[in-house]
């Protein structure tokens, strides 16, 4: 296994007016290709800041972040956009799909910014939608889809560029327990196909679905445990619409 993510003594300090907030203090960990990691912690523990740094939306104040062997801290804004586009896939709590836009067009969006020709965009978007079990819904507008379906569109969008990692920020936070299981099942399937997933959650039962739990408190990693037998999501709910 090779390292996808390597954080080395990463710290992030915000200055809010007079006050200095140390959101992250010397956090170091690595993630191997094919891992399914959950990051947990109370609000203010630094997990969101960590996620933003992992997602190249923010840069560390100190320390180094290597993604696929590239030191992200040395890149320009345009290079970071390129990395977000090609190497990262985002899944958010609030789905964050474009309104008044069809499922397929939402999935195509990263390809649009990646300058992929229209015909190829369509093929790849359809393939990604198939992987999350949404064939037949591609022409639906996002507001015509249920929460679980919207989140699956978001996962398809994260997948479409074959990223190195999928970053999920509380992906089940807005979903009921049944749909939560549905989404976690999809994540597990994708993970078993070799996709690296890092997920932030504050629900221990959701974290149980992952293979490794990193727990943050006060800007520090306090526990980092691998669980050999992660909880399997019910397989009979996978194919459901």
């Amino acid at each position: 296994m090779s390292e996808v993510v390597c954080l080395h003594e990463v710290a992030k300090v915000y200055t809010m007016g007079e006050e200095r907030v140390e959101a992250m203090k010397d956090v170091s960990f690595t993630v191997q290709r094919g891992e399914f990691v959950s990051i947990m912690g109370a609000s203010g523990s630094g997990k969101s800041t960590c996620m933003n740094i992992l997602g190249c939306l923010d840069t560390p104040t100190r320390g180094a972040y290597h993604l696929d062997g590239v030191n992200v801290g040395e890149l320009s804004a345009n290079d970071l956009a390129e990395i977000r586009n090609k190497k990262l896939g985002f899944v958010f709590q609030g789905f964050n799909l474009l309104a008044r836009t069809t499922a397929r067009e939402n999935v195509e969006l990263p390809l649009v910014y990646g300058q992929v020709p229209a015909a190829q965009r369509k093929l790849r978007a359809m393939a990604a939608l198939e992987r999350v079990g949404l064939v037949g819904r591609e022409s639906h507008y996002t507001n015509q889809l249920s929460g679980g379906q919207q989140q699956r569109v978001a996962i398809a969008r994260a997948l479409v560029n074959e990223p190195s990692i999928i970053l999920a920020d509380e992906p089940t936070g807005n979903l009921d327990s049944r749909t939560t299981v549905e989404i976690m099942t999809i994540f597990q399937q994708l993970n078993s196909q070799g996709i690296t997933i890092i997920m932030v959650t504050h629900e221990p039962e959701v974290a149980e679905f992952t293979g490794r739990q990193i727990i943050f408190r006060d800007g520090l990693v306090i526990t980092d445990t691998r669980q050999a037998g992660r909880q399997a999501a019910a397989t009979d709910e996978v194919a459901g619409p």
Binding site: F92, A99, T101, L109
Partner: protein, 409 residues
Amino acid sequence: MSTFLQSLLIAMRALRVNKMRALLTMLGIIIGIAAVIAMVAIGAGASKMISDQISSIGSNLLLVLPGSRTSGGMRGGSGTTQTLTYDDARAISAECPSVAAVAPTVRGSGPVVYGNQNWSTVINGVTPDMLSVRDWALESGRNFSQSDVDGATKNCLIGQTVADNLFGASDPVGKVIRIKKIPFTVVGLLVGKGQSPQGQDQDDVVYVPLTTAQRKLLGSQSPNLVGAIMIQARSADVLKNAEEEVTALLNQRHRIGPARDADYTIRNLSEILAVSEQSSKVMSMLLGAVASISLFVGGIGIMNIMLVSVTERTREIGIRIAIGAKRRDILLQFLTEAVLLTTCGGIIGILFGIAGAHLVGTLVGWPTLVSLNTIVIAFAFSAGVGVFFGFYPARKAASLNPIEALRYE
């Protein structure tokens, strides 16, 4: 190119979502552009009318008028004395190299009669050169020849207004009319020239040979005197030279020196009219300037709505940045949207402006002129307004922090 096309598609979609708002925002630009187009059309129409009138008088013209008489210390006005002669005219024609043609005239008025129709009109005694000096063509018949002048024949040319009043629709050429009871044969009909810049009907005129007028019609005058001499310079460039040559010649012929005031005046007609053309250009620029203020106000409206739109779509911008849109992409997207708004408004405004100008033309009767130039400039200007007023909101969108934008409710 494909990036631009993509931005265009996104912009069109964004505008479709808020049709009403897009239309209202466009309204400012529509009104602005329509006003500019209509105002400039009216201004250009007025200035074209003036330049048409200038050429209707004839081009590169000097007018020599007799001067004033001083008697007992009282100076009469211009034309109170007759000082110009047919010989002066011939001398100018022979000795001034910058002069192309000379047309001495005498002027009177009187009734003209044909059958049971009569009409009082202006009677001018002229030489054959008159028509070329005044760029005047014949609708039918012929011009005078030098033998008409030399022999003082009783032939005449008549203007359209006179023809209409005496002959109605029938052809006057070859008919005999009576001018001050003397029979004259109509040898030519002049084409209609319309109003002079001073508002006189230039077609209400009868031309007779100069000598005929001097000897038979306006008999009280000394036979050699002329009322005025019209002079056409070879070109606009030598108009000043012609004026100087004529002045020198007349001074010599009339023995004008430091001790004696000139007994004639020279007027440069084209110059006078050029001034009025200039003033109409200034007028149309002024109208255009006033109209562009409304375009400016429309641009501010665009900026306002684009700022609202950026705020509303903060989350969308965050999503786009998160999944790999570069700052440039976001900037281009919003700039395209603003430019699309203004150019759509511009096109609609151009159509309304043309319609408005046409309406003014037909209802009020003002001449209007919409040139392709104006349309192209107006379109480019509307696009420019989009870029100018769209840039700040677009830059604001492009510089959003994606983390905060994604959290924005």
